[in-house]
């Protein structure tokens, strides 16, 4: 049946049709929907793992056991999972094992713009790069065959525009895959030096065989048209190139990005007058072509940073591009903001008021960095807040420890905050860590995690108790506050900063967007009492604005959390009757 399908959903469909039976992933835009969609098939066991390293090791274990397995993550997730990746390249697989990594050129929702293709090259594993939903589905199925044929994990590289675009796909039925038998084979699976030395030559031979395969495989194809220009491209760039050139250029479209073919490229080069390489991010195809001795146009005109588009490519190649009419007007920007009623707001207000140095982390709460709260000094990668506050306090001691905190979300804490916390307990810095427990992984669109008590299907699951965990790690001072209660937040923060031992403050209140959270009626302004002092506006709540010298409450946004009431000295913000 023909349907419109999101790239990520098509990948999930591919998993289903390929007979994949185990999926373990950690969320991250733009990869999250792959696993959410896979979880809708009863035939596939799906889970959210605490982080990407765990997820990949789970998938590896399932492959070892003989089943087709999968794990998905965003580009930076592969940094976390790099350790198992590099060595399961040596062990190879038993059941087929496929990994999805989704890059985010343009940084729509990421902290960097790294190019995952480097990982495939460094770990010496094949990488496929589909260019629309239909290819995503087909490549996923074939990735499992490739994995089993060449005894290797296979990476499917997505990017924002493939993952989050819908295009037409044709679905088919799930195939019945006979699980492989697990047989003990220590020289293959026990990677200690003696055995790993035997596996490394296997990896090199496999790369040779895969390079041979790449010369003439399903994934790579030549589309001959005008021979004045030849373009080598892949992924979403292929679509832009088709848009720009139509029949005015011949195209070598690479669907397998590692290893890259040699003769296929050299033959194509011979047939065209001028060779252009169009690839987002780093010059990987280009470097390969240059090593083959080819004279190409690439990053000398095309940018390394940011996303491409049809107009960007045309413009960089000196072709004409359409233009539109522009308003000559300074338009205010519209950055994302913490939602009205967001439980993170109360804590960041308190930190801002106490002029704390805040070593931050990644999640919705990173929005605490922007005006008017401006309450964040650093964000690096998941988990870094806790480790860095320890380093900061070791470096600056008494000068910093009474006003410096780490802030980290519940999901991020489970992902990679616990080890940093162990370091504080072990190496003893007088650090204060605030865990922002909103009972969900908010940023990526509400995924369950080990602290929420539910699994990916929403069924009851194991629940890790944060207080008990922190105490077990060695913290004597573990406090819980309600972020809607500003006085309590302020008092506890001051006490824990002053204490002369490390402490954890857990700020606990579920995300207001969770379905089970009961929203209160919007507050109402008492026009006679409001003097327009703007005290409540220091919160940066999107439901509060300033109109005609008084506060205005947007009743479609306000959820009646009441935090602003605590800042109003004139009792002007009222709970609505009824």
């Amino acid at each position: 049946m023909k349907t419109l399908m999101l790239g990520n959903k098509a990948l999930a469909r591919g998993l289903y049709e390929a007979g994949c039976s185990i999926v373990s992933s950690y969320p991250g835009t733009p990869s999250t929907e792959v696993t959410e969609e896979a979880a809708k098939y009863d035939e596939i066991y799906c889970e959210w793992a605490p982080n990407e390293k765990v997820a990949m090791e789970v998938a590896f274990g399932a492959s070892l056991a003989g089943k087709r397995s999968f794990c998905g993550m965003k580009h930076v997730g592969l940094n976390v999972a790099a350790d198992p990746l590099f060595t399961c390249s040596y062990t190879g697989v038993n059941g087929g094992m496929v990994i999805c990594v989704a890059d985010d050129a343009g940084m729509h929702s990421s902290q960097n713009e790294q190019d995952s293709r480097h990982y495939a090259i460094a770990a010496k594993v094949p990488m496929l790069e589909p260019s629309d939903s239909s290819e995503t589905l087909e490549f996923t199925k074939r990735a499992f065959e490739l994995s089993e044929k060449f005894d290797t994990p296979v990476i499917i590289k997505m990017c924002t525009r493939i993952a989050h675009s819908q295009s037409v796909v044709e679905t088919s039925e799930r195939i019945n895959i006979e699980p492989k038998k697990y047989e003990k084979n220590a020289p293959k699976y026990v990677m200690m030096p003696g055995y790993a030395k035997l596996r490394h030559p296997f990896v090199e031979k496999r790369t040779e065989a895969l390079t041979e395969y790449a010369e003439n495989c399903y994934f790579n194809r030549v589309e001959m048209a005008s021979t004045k220009i030849g373009v080598i491209t892949s992924s979403t760039s292929y679509q832009y190139v088709k848009e720009v050139f139509g029949e005015n250029a011949s195209i070598l479209k690479l669907g397998m990005i590692n290893p890259l073919p040699k003769n296929l490229i050299l033959d194509f080069a011979k047939k065209v007058d001028k060779l252009i390489i169009i690839e987002e991010l780093d010059p990987i195809i280009e470097t390969h072509c240059r090593a083959l001795g080819l004279d190409v146009t690439g990053k000398d005109v095309m940018p390394i940073e940011g996303e491409f588009s049809q107009s960007l490519i045309a413009e960089k190649l000196g072709l004409s591009v359409p233009t539109g009419k522009k308003l000559e007007e300074n338009l205010p920007i519209r950055p994302p903001v913490m939602c009205a009623g967001c439980p993170h707001r109360g804590i960041f207000f308190t930190l801002s008021k106490n002029k704390c140095t805040v070593l931050g982390d990644i999640g919705c709460y990173t929005l605490g960095a922007v005006a008017p709260l401006n309450a964040m000094d650093m964000t690096l990668c998941m988990g870094a807040s806790i480790s860095a506050v320890h380093g900061f306090n070791k470096a600056n001691g008494p000068e910093s420890q009474n006003k410096t905190v780490a802030v980290i979300g519940d999901s991020t804490f489970m992902h990679s905050g616990m080890t940093g916390l162990a370091n504080i307990a072990y190496n003893q810095s007088n650090s204060t860590v605030i865990i922002l427990d909103n009972s969900i992984t908010g940023m990526t669109g509400h995924q369950q995690n080990p602290t929420t008590g539910y699994n990916i299907k929403g069924d009851p699951a194991g629940k890790i108790d944060l207080e008990t965990l922190c105490r077990a790690i060695g913290f004597n001072r573990v406090r819980v506050v309600d972020p809607y209660n500003l006085a309590e937040c302020d008092a506890v923060l001051k006490e824990e900063l002053a204490a002369d031992e490390p402490s954890v403050i857990i700020s606990r209140r579920p995300c207001v967007l969770l379905k089970y959270v009961k929203i209160k009626p919007a507050l109402k302004l008492d026009e006679n009492k409001c003097i327009g002092c703007k005290s409540c506006m220091r919160l940066g709540c999107p439901a509060i604005s300033f109109k005609n010298k008084k506060i205005h409450i947007d009743s479609t946004l306000c959820v009646g959390c009441g935090v602003c009431q605590q800042l109003c000295k004139f009792d002007a913000l009222k709970v609505q009757e009824g």
Binding site: K2, T3, L4, L6, T29, P30, E33, H108, S109, D132, T160, R161, H164, S165, Q166, S167, V168, T236, Q239, Y240, K242, E243, S309, Q310, S311, V321, P322, T323, G324, K325, K326, L327, E329, N330, L331, P332, I333, R334, P335, P336, V337, M338, C339, C364, L367, V370, A371, P372, M443, T444, G445, L513, K534, M537, G540, P542, I544, S545, F546, T556
Partner: protein, 190 residues
């Protein structure tokens, strides 16, 4: 020829339903279709944009400056922000609702005035209407997206029944009546 529709608005306003509806409709009408969305930060009140492209064969999923045949804007300031993406002879359908962005809320910027007039002064075809009131009249403030679809439908050579079938297919059963009314109000049927 590929036709391009851009849907712009503020995160949380319901543009995903509009693009789902268009995708369904255009596929049923026999076109090749691509829809590109940005997920992730979109709940958080930021500026959001969705691209819908259709034709005999569509390659790129995105729309560049000067390429949109139609822009459907859920909010006035967002209309102004993305207007450069409209073809010189394209048309923008805009909800006149104003939603203050954070710089306006905290007083570091003000909401620009007379944006509709300013666009019209550039000889841009602007079709502006208060969709929020019409949506409320239909029975739910959330139906702004379908009011806009009703308006957009006037400029398409696709039967009204096909649009309504797409609504029936994309909207949960209990909201179909409200949304059909919203569509009629947007299209000017009532």
């Amino acid at each position: 020829m590929t036709k391009n529709i851009m849907i712009v608005g503020v995160g949380g306003q319901g543009s995903l339903l509009a693009s789902k509806l268009l995708g369904h409709l255009l596929l049923t009408e026999g076109y090749d279709v691509k829809v590109s969305e940005v997920h992730g930060m979109s709940q958080r009140g930021g500026s959001v944009v969705t691209y819908v492209r259709f034709g005999e064969k569509v390659y790129s999923p995105i729309i560049d400056k000067g390429e949109a045949d139609f822009i459907v804007s859920f909010e006035k300031l967002e209309a102004a922000r993305w207007i450069e993406y409209l073809k010189p002879d394209g048309r923008i359908v805009v909800n006149t609702q104003e939603i203050d962005p954070m710089p306006v809320i905290i007083g570091s910027a003000s909401y620009p005035e007379n944006l509709i007039d300013k666009m019209e002064n550039l000889d841009i075809k602007v079709d502006a209407m208060d969709c929020l009131s019409l949506a409320e009249q239909a029975g739910s403030a959330k139906a702004v997206n379908i009011v806009l679809m009703g308006r957009l439908s006037k400029y398409f050579d696709i039967s009204e029944e096909a649009w309504k079938n797409a609504i029936r297919a994309c909207v949960p059963a209990k909201f179909v009546e409200i949304n059909l009314k919203a569509f009629d109000l947007g299209r000017g049927n009532i």
